[in-house]
């Protein structure tokens, strides 16, 4: 079936112009790769799975496609990353409910006394979907490429304290690999929960700079995870099938026969499909829909606090936002609790730093600071030299320049609403906030580019379990992509540097608190809230456990009873 779609495409090639060089390259790469997968899967065709839980198809839908595909070197999008980690590829370790590492691709590991050596012992019964065994060489290959600056892996900060290149990794035998660190540091196991191991035998000839863009990720991925790739209609859907060769020691083949990921860009259409049962999971349910989903007896809302914070960023490099009092006025002039109430039905927590509620360093007492106080906002703005001299409702400075801020954001429903509410509330204290929706790529390139041609913006900042805020606030990173604010403070720097190196959490907690207090004093951004992730799930899908580890974290344990399955 998959080969037939390739055949159809090949047949249509003459129309496309078989002189398209790239098409030929892709056909040359994907043809044999997928053929090998087919024949490998064939060898399991005799096997039957008797237990009644086996079988069925599940459909998960979201409003955006998986842009990064199954390419472990493209970590730009959270949903793709989860598919890489849990669906198509494998990571060395996973986390249990208490966020402690448990074996996955690696069956055990040990560290040296001084925590500068990390050795993994891999399982020997894991095979790539085309039949090749997964070995330590694949891990070595993944590390070398991911830490290579030429690849431009987005999370290269993971390997900051690893020795570079071949000094950092050593293959001891086919299933044993050792990493060499320069310094012991905080949460050093976290990267291995997040990085999907990639197949060396297929990709080692690809130049590093082309790796993250390689069509392998979206046209013919070959992984070793519980589900293998069947087809991808760009912008429409992905279809995966159960991997019959998944190790018995990890539970064997997943219960579901097929897993379909559908893209439905229109939220109301997606809701309609959920309610009629065409879709089993609405990933990223709009907060306003939660009530009607909960009312439907066939559906349920799965919600959990998420490791993300929504904030309004201010470019402190420009004169009108350089004064800390102005930024603080913007925060106290916004009624964040009411925004949370109105836009998210109160499901979430107002915060004052980028530390999400789920992180162990989160301090609830800090969230009470900067309550809504329009009088104080007005006072701060006046003190900073902004008065409404011409009576038009907007403050001006001495030169007569109005306090208007060009506010960029990626226009989804929630951001649009938050921006408009902030506009109305800040208008009351004399600030002219001008929301401007901008398409995602243009938006990202504007805020990331070194020219920093923006004034204010809104972004949902998702963090890994290992929190490293140096890219955001450290002076040394001030020209890097994530230093939107531009503030530089030596005290903050010292905290940032120290926090990474303290390996004991109890020791680190008070330091984190002090760091956050200092950040609140400097007040670079208006942090809005840490929110919950909500999904609409059809009750017939059982065994679903979605939590802070991810929506898809236990997809291989999902099952549907025979009587509830879609026919045939």
């Amino acid at each position: 079936m998959r080969s037939s779609s390739i055949l159809i495409l090949l047949a249509l090639l003459p129309i496309a112009g078989c002189t398209d060089v790239r098409e030929r390259e892709i056909a040359a790469f994907c043809g044999p790769a997928l053929a090998k997968v087919d024949s490998f899967v064939e060898t399991f065709s005799g096997r039957g799975w008797e237990e009644e839980r086996y079988g069925g198809t599940v459909v998960v839908a979201a409003v955006a496609d998986l842009r990064g595909g199954m390419n472990g070197f493209d970590a730009s999008q959270a949903a793709s990353a989860q598919h890489q980690m849990f669906v198509n590829l494998m990571t060395l370790i996973q986390y249990d409910e208490d966020l402690n590492p448990v074996p996955y691709l690696a069956r055990s590991w040990e560290t040296s006394e001084d925590l500068t050596e990390l050795t993994f012992h891999l399982r020997n019964d894991v095979y790539w979907h085309d039949g090749e065994p997964t070995t330590a060489h694949d891990v070595e290959f993944t590390f070398l490429r991911a830490s290579d600056p030429a690849t431009n892996y987005a999370n290269s900060a993971f390997f900051q304290y690893y020795r570079p290149g071949r000094e950092g990794v050593e293959v001891l035998d086919s299933f044993t690999v050792r990493f060499h660190l320069t310094k012991p540091h905080m949460d050093f196991m976290d990267p291995w929960r997040a990085v999907g191991i990639m197949p060396r035998h297929l990709l080692e000839d690809v130049p590093p700079s082309e790796l993250s863009q390689h069509p392998f990720g979206t046209i013919c991925p070959v992984g070793n995870g519980p589900f293998l790739f069947l087809s991808h209609d760009p912008g429409a859907q992905w279809i995966f099938g159960a991997n019959p060769a998944f190790p018995e020691g990890l539970g064997g083949r997943p219960y579901l026969d097929r897993y379909v990921f559908r893209v439905i860009e229109e939220a109301p259409t997606l809701l309609a499909e959920l309610q009629t049962g065409s879709v089993d999971v609405y990933a990223g349910l709009l907060p306003h829909y939660a009530a009607s989903v909960a009312e439907n007896p066939d559906l349920t809302v799965v919600a959990y606090p998420y490791r993300a914070v929504l904030f309004a960023g201010w470019n402190a490099r420009i004169p009108k936002l350089a004064d800390e009092r102005v930024r603080r006025a913007l925060t106290v002039g916004t009624n964040r609790h009411r925004i949370l109430e109105g836009v998210r039905r109160g499901v979430g927590t107002v915060v004052n730093t980028a530390v999400p509620v789920t992180h162990w360093a989160y301090d609830p007492t800090l969230s009470d600071s900067f309550p809504y106080d329009p009088e104080q906002a007005r006072a701060l703005l006046s003190a900073a030299g902004w008065e409404d001299t011409d009576g038009d409702g907007i403050r001006e400075n001495e030169e007569g320049e109005p306090l208007s801020i060009d506010f960029l954001f990626n226009p989804n429903q929630e951001r649009q609403e938050v921006a408009e509410i902030m506009q109305a509330q800040l208008g009351e204290v004399g600030v002219d906030l001008q929301p401007r929706g901008m398409e995602l790529n243009a938006f990202l390139s504007t805020i990331f580019s070194p020219e920093r041609k923006f004034e204010g913006f809104m972004i949902a900042w998702e963090s890994e379990f290992r929190l490293d805020e140096r890219d955001l606030f450290h002076s040394q990173a001030v020209n890097g992509p994530y230093a939107f604010s531009g503030i530089q403070d030596s005290i903050l720097d010292r905290y940032l540097d120290t926090l990474q190196l303290v390996t004991d959490r109890e020791e680190a907690k008070p330091l984190w608190r002090e760091y956050q207090l200092r950040l609140m004093e400097l007040h670079p951004y208006t942090f809005l809230y840490s929110y919950y992730r909500q999904n609409g799930v059809n009750r017939r899908l059982r065994g679903v456990r979605m939590d802070v580890r991810g929506d898809w974290q236990n997809i291989r344990e999902w099952w549907i009873a025979p009587e509830d399955r879609r026919q045939p």
Partner: protein
């Protein structure tokens, strides 16, 4: 006595004369505007301080009231009643037009819409950007169904839908009129030039027309608006830029057929310059079909503008626009159907009215049709 009363109350005497159309319109308008002026007096004063919009609204109010009185007086002083005949061909057009009840209804609605749009600052019950839930703590007003307080309900940010529809009408109606106005002017001039001058100018121009018409108009519009940061001027410009070829073709055709007629030869023999011939002789005679397509085109333009806003490419927040209201309302369709439905109905009403007028004009201008009707 009745005459004196009649001068004071426009429309009354016309009604007594059984001139239902003029009388009815005038009287209704007069009553409505006076009611508005008296009941919303404080609002009028307040809107004067809010800037240009308030002044325009007040000016419109006064002008229309004054115009009604003036018309009433003038009408009384003319013939003692019966059908008035306007000079020239226009009179015949109007007579035929007004026999078409539907067309007159359409004209009435169009007039009412524009009047409402101009008077919006005085009519709208609330500020369209006011969010009582977030600015005053009335969280119960989020997505409130239609009620006495909010006749058409509120949206997800607790803004009044009726007020937003009223303010949105200003965008749609002005964009429609301006875009079509510009495109018709441009298109007519180009068409007349092409038809009259002929030669390579004609050839080049018609090729350009062919190419622009080959485009699916929406795609070109989206590309123009998305790539060049949207503002209302860009939207009007883009709409005009994609519509002029239709007018050009029609006008050129008319001009070509007119060329055969004698008066063009005569004008040329008399030594009139090309531009004079084009402007004063050719264009006025070619305009009949153009007016029809232009009127029908306004309806289409309103739909296109709504479509652009629907895709998120229209005017920016917090300015309301019918299209963007339908788009946001879509997300809440199952909870609050009124957010998407009423703006859509407003679009249908406006477009319907323009189409009725356009149809009426076409029927009135078509010589064969009018023969059927009057014969």
């Amino acid at each position: 006595m009745a005459r004196k009363l009649g001068l004071l109350v426009p429309g009354l005497l016309q009604l007594l004369d059984r001139r239902w159309l003029e009388g009815g319109t005038a009287l209704t308008l007069w009553v409505a505007l006076l009611t508005l002026a008296t009941t919303r007096f404080p609002r009028i004063l307040q809107s004067l301080s809010e800037g240009l919009d308030g002044w325009i609204a007040l000016l419109t109010l006064l002008l229309v009231l004054g115009g009604l009185w003036g018309w009433s007086v003038r009408d009384r002083m003319k013939s003692g009643g019966g059908d008035r005949v306007l000079p020239g061909g226009g009179g015949h057009l109007w007579t035929t037009f007004r026999r078409n009840r539907l067309a007159v209804l359409g004209l009435w609605i169009v007039g009412a819409l524009y009047l409402i749009a101009l008077l919006t600052p005085l009519l709208a019950p609330f500020d369209p950007a006011y969010q009582p839930a977030f600015q005053a703590g009335e969280t119960g007003l989020i997505m409130a169904p239609p009620s006495w307080g909010h006749i058409l309900g509120t949206d997800q940010l607790s803004r009044d839908i009726l007020s937003r529809i009223l303010y949105g009408s200003r965008i749609s109606l002005s964009v429609g009129l301006l875009a079509v106005g510009i495109s018709v002017t441009m298109g007519a001039l180009l068409g007349a030039v092409a038809g009259h001058l002929g030669g390579w100018i004609d050839a080049v121009l018609m090729r350009v027309v062919d190419v622009v018409m080959a485009f699916p108009r929406l795609v070109l519009l989206i590309a123009l608006v998305a790539f060049f940061d949207s503002s209302i001027f860009l939207i009007i410009g883009a709409l005009a830029l994609t519509q002029w070829p239709f007018t050009t073709r029609v006008v050129r055709g008319e001009v070509l057929s007119l060329k055969e007629r004698e008066f063009t030869e005569a004008a040329r023999a008399l030594g009139f310059s090309n531009s004079r011939i084009i402007l004063r002789h050719l264009l006025p005679n070619a305009m009949a079909p153009v007016i029809v397509t232009a009127t029908l085109g306004i309806g289409n333009t309103i739909i296109l503008e709504a479509g652009l806003s629907f895709l998120g490419l229209g005017v920016k927040a917090p300015t309301p626009s019918w299209g963007i209201m339908v788009a946001t309302g879509r997300s809440y369709l199952s909870h609050a159907w009124w957010i998407a439905t009423f703006p859509g109905l407003a679009i249908v009403l406006a477009v319907l009215a323009f189409n009725l007028v356009g149809d009426g004009l076409r029927d009135a201008l078509d010589p064969r049709q009018s023969r059927e009707v009057s014969g």
